[in-house]
Amino acid sequence: MIEIKNLSKSFGDLLVWKDVTFNIEDGETLAIIGRSGCGKSVLLKHINALLYPDSGEVIIDGSDIHKLDYVEQRKLRQKFGVLFQGSALFDSINTFENIAFPLRYFTKQTEQEIHKNVMDALSHVNLENVADKETSELSGGMRKRVGLARAIVLKPTYIMYDEPTSGLDPQTASEINELIINMAETLDITSIVVTHDMNSVLDIADKVSFLDNQELSWHGTVQEMRVSNQKNLIDFISASEYQI
């Protein structure tokens, strides 16, 4: 379980958000939505301590990740898989090695075991045939899926998606959404998805956190969001192509 308590962050004089508080229960999929530049990705980077807050806590399985020493923090980070906005694949190694990368450094698996786990991860994202390809040969959608395969190969407890469908055509975006649902169900993973794509939110999320006006403006289930009469939330949803 992840508890976010009174989290505040500024960059210099620029306040990103203040007093953000919500919980993410085990097994649920939470979507963090909001306008571009409202600090969604910044919030995501606070959850695995890539950024530090000005005040507040992020408690993961009972430990405040920002108060742990670096060695313990790194151990806790291994519970997370992250799919970055640009996939963040290592361009100096091929697809197979990208996915094998954490296995080689954090486990003592044999080559056969590594091969099996990499191919399993690739089969989860329906890309068994690209293992030998260079990452530069992959399309945008393939890169996202390979990034997802790398994120799940260590069997994480939590997985964070930063704009998983941005820059993709609607059909590929829909395939990625299906993968996210599939991951959550088959691997029993708690998912946190940063997006401004309402199609994705309605397809994949159990709960929604809406960031607006430098604060957590709204938090609740998707069903509650559908009937909410909060004006800024309705404005945000109705501005998207999707109409509830």
């Binding site: 980077k45 695995n48 890539l50 670096y70 790194r74 151990k75 980070r77 291994q78 997370f80 992250v82 970055f84 906005q85 640009g86 963040a88 694949l89 290592f90 361009d91 990368f101 954490p102 450094y105 954090f106 260590l154």
Partner: protein
């Protein structure tokens, strides 16, 4: 104030690198790759730099010292001293600031702006240990080796230029070189290259590691890394000469 802030960030990165240098298993593979990239891959440009530096130095010295009262062996003495004390280290390092420094800054800068460093940290890696430590160690280990290469080819170039131009016979050149050879000169050259190797790789790692702003930001960090490395090499050259000679 800005310079102090930058110095603080640079010192913090070096401190983190020093602390994480014990995590040998994290950077072992990268270290061997970097030793090859910094050392072996730089040999051709260092050979060329050495040959042309020695050749030009010989031709210019012969031109300036053309007199019946100055023995030809003096040219060999001047050229060999200059190469061992100054040119093999400084000219090679300025060239390597462009080759090694620019590569390191670009690699790390690209990794930073494409979130690959964030990806490493997210997986639980110590990115400083994984990326910075092997590059700085490779600089410290391989620059002195490249100094040997630059010195040998510098002297070779000097001898060849003297021979083919007819200005200094090889025997006279070598006699002068032997006459004024002091082992301390080699120690001084090695010390310089050790320091320059550290400066180029650590400054380039720092600029790349903290790059921001997409492709333009990577270009800027690469330029800054190269220019700053060159300035610091010249400054360190002066300080070392003042301290050690």
């Amino acid at each position: 104030m800005y310079a102090l802030k930058e110095l603080g960030k640079y010192s913090t990165l070096l401190y983190q690198a020093l602390r994480s240098s014990t995590e040998f298993s994290t950077y072992r593979k990268n270290l061997f790759q970097e030793l090859v990239k910094v050392g072996y891959d730089s040999v051709p440009i260092i050979v060329l730099t050495g040959i042309f530096t020695g050749s030009v130095m010989t031709l210019q010295s012969a031109y300036q010292l053309e007199s019946a009262f100055i023995p030809l062996s003096t040219i060999g003495a001047i050229v060999s001293e200059s190469i061992l004390i100054e040119l093999a280290a400084v000219i090679s390092s300025l060239v390597l600031a462009g080759k090694v420094g620019a590569r390191v800054a670009t690699e790390l800068g690209t990794m930073r702006v494409s979130e690959q460093i964030d990806a490493l940290e997210s997986m639980g890696f110590n990115s400083v240990s994984f990326l910075v430590v092997p590059r700085v160690l490779a600089g410290i280990f391989m620059f002195p080796v490249l100094y040997i290469v630059a010195s040998i080819f510098g002297l070779g170039g000097g001898i060849a230029a003297g021979f083919f131009s007819g200005s200094v016979p090889p025997a006279d050149f070598l006699q002068g070189a032997r006459m004024y050879f002091y082992p301390w000169n080699l120690v001084f050259g090695f010390t310089k290259m050790f320091v320059f190797g550290f400066i180029i790789t650590s400054v380039s790692c720092y600029k790349g590691y903290f790059a921001s702003g997409g492709a333009e930001g990577v270009g800027k960090c690469t330029t800054n890394a190269t220019v700053l490395s060159c300035i610091l090499i010249l400054l360190a050259d002066f300080v070392l000469a003042a301290l050690l000679l």
